[in-house]
Amino acid sequence: MSDVKVQKAMKQHMGLTASRRISNTAIYIVLTIMSVIWLIPFVCIVLQSFRVESTWQVGYVIPRQWGWDNYVNLAKTDFWRWYTNTFILAILTAALQTIIVLCMSYTLSRFRFKMRKPLMKLMLVLGLFPGMMTMIILYRVLADLGLTQKNSIPGLLLVYVASSGMGYYVSKGFFDTISKSLDEAARVDGANRFKVLVKIILPMSKPIVIYTVLTAFMGPWGDFVFARYISMGTSAGKNVAVGMYDWLSQDQIGKNYTMFCAGGVLVALPVTLLFLFLQRYYVEGVTNGAVKG
């Protein structure tokens, strides 16, 4: 290689790093701006929750007086009851929904039976109906079962879990990526289908299990339309979203707004923490799963 050529190559290389540096700087700037935009609402909500000089909405962000009053005041309301309701609901939903979703998706991914395609088509069609109208009907059904008002939490659990089989897409996609030869090898060795699932597939499915648990766990925290309909004005049967949503009504917002923010922070806490620790699995799960859908 002649000197000229080497020099040229070096120049190119240096040009490349220079341009990469410029583009990386640009990316850092964009990401920083984005982070600020993405964080502003949360920072604001957190700041509001520590504001003690007034309890209503204000036109500034930084509190003039800081304190824990809003968090302390939460204990004077039914907040912790709603919080416990939601927490229990979320844990049970996460557990049961994961079982249902895994059963469904594993079956549809691994077994080939006559009704498989029609079933998948049926569920696709069902998913296209807007859920809003069935709300009234579900209310009537649950009311008939005595699972509304003060018993709404079991009622909600039933509805969440029962219809969760529809959301099998992502985890089916994940199972599709696990090679079938593993199953077949085990089957040849005399393991039955159940053993294959428990001994071979599940240990490999940590990401998708965690992904499913996480999404199922998050759901109940934000349901303020259906849960509100089901609880029908009974405090004991409210989830935290419904209870807090009422604080925003005309007659309460002046008194309870900062408390609403404090409650919001506490609601966001478990989900955020889970996300922080399990993010890696979530990404893996959604990646391998959603791709296939």
Binding site: S235, S249, D251, G254, Y257
Partner: protein, 513 residues
């Protein structure tokens, strides 16, 4: 006078009680009930029920579950499922018709109705009634709105003029909050200010049968011009929340419930006043308002003693004593006449402003639930309009939608008369046959002296000829038989006077009164 009546009534009741020995045998040991009240009076209500348990002369005991349910939500919930709803609940007046139609309100019989009629102001009484029957207990008489303003921005001398207020706000770059675009309740104020009406009539079941609405009249156009002034200002804010003062508002039009909040935000700078006037073509119009009540209802049921017990409780919870407690604790303006005479009530600044607005306000009465949605968009339309024709078009469109509500129901029966120009569309010129429980329809009308006193019964908007002369079975002597000169089968009265017409589905009975 009214005080006297209530005193007499109380005495009569006392005597009656003494006569039967005071305690009624039929009441159960205790009743489990659910009570829905707004969050702020939850504790107070618990105390009040406790007091009732200990003091009522019938020995009724309640074991209440008190839930914090705000008034509007309570009405929604009751309509969704009466069965699961609260046994006693509070609701705003505008939900009355809806609740009545859902049969979520139990009728107030005899003593209950008499007491309500005797002790409360006329508006709240009208709010609790459908036809002649009471279905709810007045809880407050403060459901109106007035103006809150920031004294540091708005000079005292400007508070009577809308134009001056808008100018002040624009100069100070502050907002004038008046919820015209998202709430018909506030929007109607301008129309009432110019003398427009929207009067709705229900039958005994709470079904709307008739409306007289003049929002598209020349007076309505004047109101629209007033609204235009405000909504086209860049510093108009469509909101009725007192916390707007925190974010750049100088004026907020809202009700008494925001008084404490506004006081806390503005402190000594808080001013309250009746609504201002606006000027169109040199003429001044004081902005009107709705004047309404909050009510308490009792859910229907099949246990006669339980129902009676709950009525006694509701009666107590809306009594002079309890209304005063709510005023003292939360500033709720009482509907009770005796309470209204108290100095503390009279001197409350917010209630004083409401009182100042009183002469310009219109009793809310009963309004069709759909009206709130239909009227809501007028202000949006006015904002989009570029000229007077646009304003008029907005109002005409509104009236079309109102008419749609009524032509939709083509089972109603109307009597149309020649003396009213055979108008079958304008509800003010037709006579409505009120449906009765036995399936018949009854109308009492005055037939004025005129050359041809003919008319017949039609469905709204139609010209049917199947309900007329040929169908009159009783009272045929009161009408003329014109034979072939009557191709449209009209009922032609022989002489003017007051008649009662009954239609049983196949035939008419006509009686002269």
């Amino acid at each position: 006078m009214k005080k006297l009546i209530s005193l007499v009534l109380a005495l009569v009741m006392l005597v009656a009680m003494a006569a039967v020995g005071g305690v009624a045998e039929g009441f159960a040991d205790s009743y489990d009930i659910t009570v829905w009240v707004p969050e702020e009076i939850k504790e107070l209500t618990a105390q009040q029920i406790d007091t009732f348990n200990n003091t009522n002369q019938f020995g009724i005991k309640f074991n209440p579950t008190i839930e914090a349910v705000s008034e509007a939500v309570a009405a929604d919930n009751m309509v969704n499922d009466v069965e699961a709803g609260g046994d006693i609940f509070c609701f705003p007046q505008d939900q009355f018709a809806r609740l009545l139609r859902a049969k979520a309100l139990d009728e107030l019989t005899e003593v209950f109705a008499e007491k309500v009629a005797a002790e409360n102001d006329a508006n709240s009484i009208a709010a609790a009634k459908s036809g002649d029957v009471f279905y709810a207990y007045p809880l407050t008489s403060d459901n109106g709105y007035f103006m809150y303003y920031d004294k540091s921005v708005i000079p005292e001398e400007d508070i009577d003029s809308l134009e001056a207020l808008i100018a002040d706000c624009e100069a100070a770059q502050k907002y004038f909050a008046f919820e015209l675009q998202t709430s018909s309740w506030y929007l109607a104020s301008f129309f009432f200010g110019t003398g427009c009406v929207s009067e709705w009539v229900t039958d005994d079941d709470g079904t709307f049968v008739k409306v007289r609405d003049t929002f598209n009249s020349p007076e309505g156009l004047i109101a629209a011009k007033g609204i235009e002034k405000l909504v086209k200002s860049p510093f108009h804010l469509s909101s009725s929340k007192a916390d707007s003062f925190e974010s750049n508002a100088a004026i907020v039009v809202t009700g008494i419930w925001d008084y404490e909040l506004a006081k806390q935000i503005l402190g000594d700078n808080l001013g309250v006043a009746d609504l201002p006037s606006f000027t169109v073509d040199g003429e001044e119009y004081h902005i009107g308002s709705f004047k309404g009540s909050k009510l308490m209802g009792v859910k229907p049921g099949n246990d006669v003693y339980r129902q009676a017990a709950m009525h006694f409780l509701a009666q107590y919870l809306t009594s002079e004593e309890c209304q005063l407690q709510r005023f003292e604790l939360k500033g709720w303006g009482p509907s009770n006449l005796a309470d209204q005479e108290l100095d503390a009530v009279k001197n409350h600044p917010g209630l004083a402003a409401l009182k100042a607005q009183d002469p310009y306000s219109v009793p809310q009465g009963q309004i069709h639930g759909s009206w709130w949605g239909i009227a809501q968009v007028i202000a949006d339309d006015i904002k989009l309009a570029t000229d007077e024709a646009g304003l008029q078009a907005a109002l005409d469109k509104y009236l079309d939608k109102i008419n749609e509500l009524f032509t939709l129901d083509n089972t109603a029966l109307l009597f149309v008369g020649a003396w009213n120009g055979w108008n079958n569309a304008d509800t003010s010129k037709t006579y409505y046959l009120a449906p009765k429980a036995d399936g018949s329809y009854v109308l009492t009308l005055d037939v004025p002296e005129s050359g041809y006193m003919g008319g017949r019964v039609v469905n709204p908007g139609s010209w049917d000829t199947d309900k007329g002369f040929a169908q009159v079975t009783e009272g045929a002597d009161l009408i003329k038989d014109l034979g072939a000169d009557n191709p449209d089968n009209n009922i032609v009265f022989a002489e003017p006077g007051n008649y009662t017409i009954t239609w049983d589905g196949e035939a008419f009975t006509i009686v002269k009164n």
